[in-house]
Chain length 200, copies 2
Amino acid sequence: MQSSPLLEHLIENLRCLPGVGSKSAQRMAYHLLQRNRSGGMNLARALTEAMSKIGHCSHCRNFTEEDVCNICNNPRRQNSGLLCVVEMPADIQAIEQTGQFSGRYFVLMGHLSPLDGIGPREIGLDLLQKRLIEESFHEVILATNPTVEGDATANYIAEICRQHNIKVSRIAHGIPVGGELETVDGTTLTHSFLGRRQID
Amino acid sequence: MQSSPLLEHLIENLRCLPGVGSKSAQRMAYHLLQRNRSGGMNLARALTEAMSKIGHCSHCRNFTEEDVCNICNNPRRQNSGLLCVVEMPADIQAIEQTGQFSGRYFVLMGHLSPLDGIGPREIGLDLLQKRLIEESFHEVILATNPTVEGDATANYIAEICRQHNIKVSRIAHGIPVGGELETVDGTTLTHSFLGRRQID
């Protein structure tokens, strides 16, 4: 039993954060109350602002509070002629952190899943097709997840790109760098054999 | 670079939670935005309410939004005659979860630390002394942390209790249940020898 219903309510609500169970939620609530109330208030404000004001970029569907996100607005990126298609905004974040890609993005916000009623329109393929026509991309890189649905979605988009005569590629699947052969699952190992590259 | 300053601000603010680094903060922010915006809004409200409304019980200094907390208000606990002194509200939580203690509490909100200007008044010992006089406790259990400061604070309070002719005890220190002798540090092992109990 908590000594305070508000405290109990806070602990319960902290559990909506991923990776936070009842023990961590308790620890967080007590930490904020005991040592950092202003931090807690700032977090509440940041949450309210982010949840209510962040929408989607009208070009790439990435998270932004503006009409067009600052990746789409970047002139250097506009000239690269590269478009990377990902499932979720968090994927962009991961790609950006590598510093290896300087083109633009398109976020599907999911993947094709006809059984759940998620078709081409739901993942914004009409908007993607419009961009393929209006803007001049010379390569579309498909970076959907290497799952059955992600692969199916990639194949579907590849077909669209071919119709528009745009070069299309899929990111490589194989053994993670630093990984060990014996610990990798069979499907990944198969992919790494099928995707082998000749050494010149 | 994040696509949105508000998102960046949210990630930064999530790091005030204990055990949350930049990677987890990112994961949390994207999770809330992508999958659970209403959960994020509820969390913001719970945080605001808790941070602004939760104060301290006027009897035991535990967290509560009322004048007197529901542990102090519980008649069964009032009749037990037991008072447990702890450093922080989170300690009460830990003790309550054992279900072994049915008395009342007193929270010091810290420990004596003269060099930091934290004396008897700062940890509420005037209020504790008033309670020892006004209420009839037959035992005070000192459950401050087994640190130099916690021990010094316990000794100081023990002296006050003796002046009021109230029985006073210190919780046992020794080898944690399920622990192994060889992995326990020397001081704890010394405590477990000094605190040995005769087997009848």
